[in-house]
């Protein structure tokens, strides 16, 4: 949603880029080869997230860790607090939500291939794949996103400095 706050800059952006994969802006299900830039948001919480992250890294020149959830694991990472050090927090979370708090028909959902399995710990993106650029913020403001994108459109790496560009939260 913060990305949409870029307003008229989105028109400039649309002229310079082709969106080849996006959960909201395109209906393509397979991550293509030879991608120049990918903004990855969200923490890595389940097997599908992990698989896509690895695929993104293999097929992308520049990977941006986009927003606090990707950079720090942030709110999704709170699941890790249930168990010491986050170990096996998946089973603890499932048990709490689907068994202990169930009103009726208590059962943990198991549907291999349909419901992705939770990873034991929720991880920030860079603990799973090498990341090229970090864009913190919850969410990063439109100004910050633009300041990050503009140098990259010119083929340069952005240098994010100061409270306007770096602050978490």
């Amino acid at each position: 949603m913060s990305f949409l706050d870029l307003d008229e800059f989105l028109f400039d952006l649309a002229e310079q880029v082709e969106i080849v994969f996006s959960p909201v802006a395109s209906d393509i299900k397979t991550y293509p080869e030879g991608v120049d830039l990918c903004l990855v948001e969200g923490a890595v919480a389940n097997a599908d997230n992990l698989e896509l992250a690895l695929q993104v890294r293999r097929r992308t020149a520049v990977v941006v860790s986009f927003g606090d959830c990707a950079v720090t694991a942030n709110v999704p990472g709170l699941r890790n607090l249930i168990t010491p050090g986050g170990r096996d927090s998946a089973m603890a979370a499932l048990q709490r939500s689907y068994l202990e708090l169930a009103d009726s028909q208590a059962q943990i959902p198991v549907a291999p291939g349909v419901v992705p399995e939770l990873l034991p710990r929720v991880l920030p993106l860079h603990e799973v794949i090498p990341v090229d650029v970090y864009l913190p913020g919850c969410p990063p403001s439109a100004a910050r996103i633009r300041a990050c994108l503009e140098p990259m459109l010119r083929g340069e790496r952005p240098r994010l400095e100061g409270p306007e560009m770096l602050r978490f939260g």
């Binding site: 860790s65 606090d68 950079v71 720090t72 694991a73 942030n74 709110v75 990472g77 709170l78 890790n80 607090l81 249930i82 168990t83 010491p84 050090g85 986050g86 927090s89 710990r121 920030p124 860079h126 603990e127 990341v131 970090y134 864009l135 913190p136 919850c138 994010l160 400095e161 100061g162 409270p163 770096l166 602050r167 978490f168 939260g169």
Partner: protein, 239 residues
């Protein structure tokens, strides 16, 4: 008053004898990041952010807890110091649970401020995700151990300014934490005067007013300094 002269980043500085290196650095107009240090409270050198290099001394020294002496050659901004400072801040984030997005101190947090100062855009260290508790037993305030960086400002302000000594540090290493009274729920400690000085000087969202929601904390970090000065200069004495 005797004066000593020393060199900070090649710049000669004169300070009163007994000054700390931090005071000398500030007298030279250089800003060093600090977290555990607070004017008005005794120095402890806990956060290691104000580390400096002194010529002829092999280890790095915390400027707040080191005394300035005649002829010292001090460096405050070398690549090595910058690297260690950033590392220290990354470790602060990695060892606790700092979800800034919904912290009471979001936007008014000294830990966030130093992260920006040292240019930290992510932590290179894996997060520890410790299982820490929240103490909401006090009628006015709460303590969230998830946010605490063990700077001990609360411990010192309560002991040195309020003279109630409610706070202490218990355990060691990864289990180290702030405790109230004899490791009691804060609300059950009779010695607490409900003055809120600890809340005012906390650099993060660890100590906060119960009514505060996300990004609502407005601490008064100069309060300890004002009280110390008023006391030292007898500003409250009846004439």
């Amino acid at each position: 008053m005797s004066v000593i002269t020393l060199s900070i980043d090649g710049q000669p500085v004169a300070v009163p004898a007994g000054s700390s290196l931090l005071q000398a650095v500030r007298a030279a107009g250089i800003r060093l990041p600090t977290l555990c240090h607070l004017d008005g409270l005794s120095p402890v050198g806990a956060c290691r952010l104000c580390l400096v290099q002194v010529e002829g001394v092999s280890r790095l020294l915390p400027a707040c807890a080191s005394e300035a002496s005649e002829g010292l050659q001090v460096q405050t901004d070398t690549p090595e110091l910058r690297e260690y400072r950033r590392m220290a801040v990354e470790l602060f984030f990695a060892e606790g649970n700092h979800e800034c997005a919904y912290c009471v101190a979001n936007g008014d947090c000294e830990l966030q401020d130093v992260a920006v100062t040292v240019g930290m855009d992510h932590s290179r260290f894996p997060y520890r995700w410790p299982n820490r508790s929240v103490d909401a037993s006090h009628p006015l305030f709460s303590l969230d151990h998830n946010r605490c960086i063990l700077c001990t400002r609360c411990v010192r302000v309560c002991d040195e300014i309020e003279a109630a000594h409610v706070w202490d540090v218990a355990e060691r290493g990864a289990h180290c934490r702030i405790i109230a009274g004899l490791d009691q729920p804060w609300g059950e400690v009779d010695a607490c005067t409900h003055c809120g000085k600890c809340v005012d000087v906390c650099p993060t969202g660890a100590l906060f007013h119960k009514a505060d929601g996300t990004a609502e904390k407005h601490p008064d970090r100069e309060r300890a300094q004002h009280l110390r000065r008023a006391r030292d200069q007898h500003e409250w004495q009846h004439r």
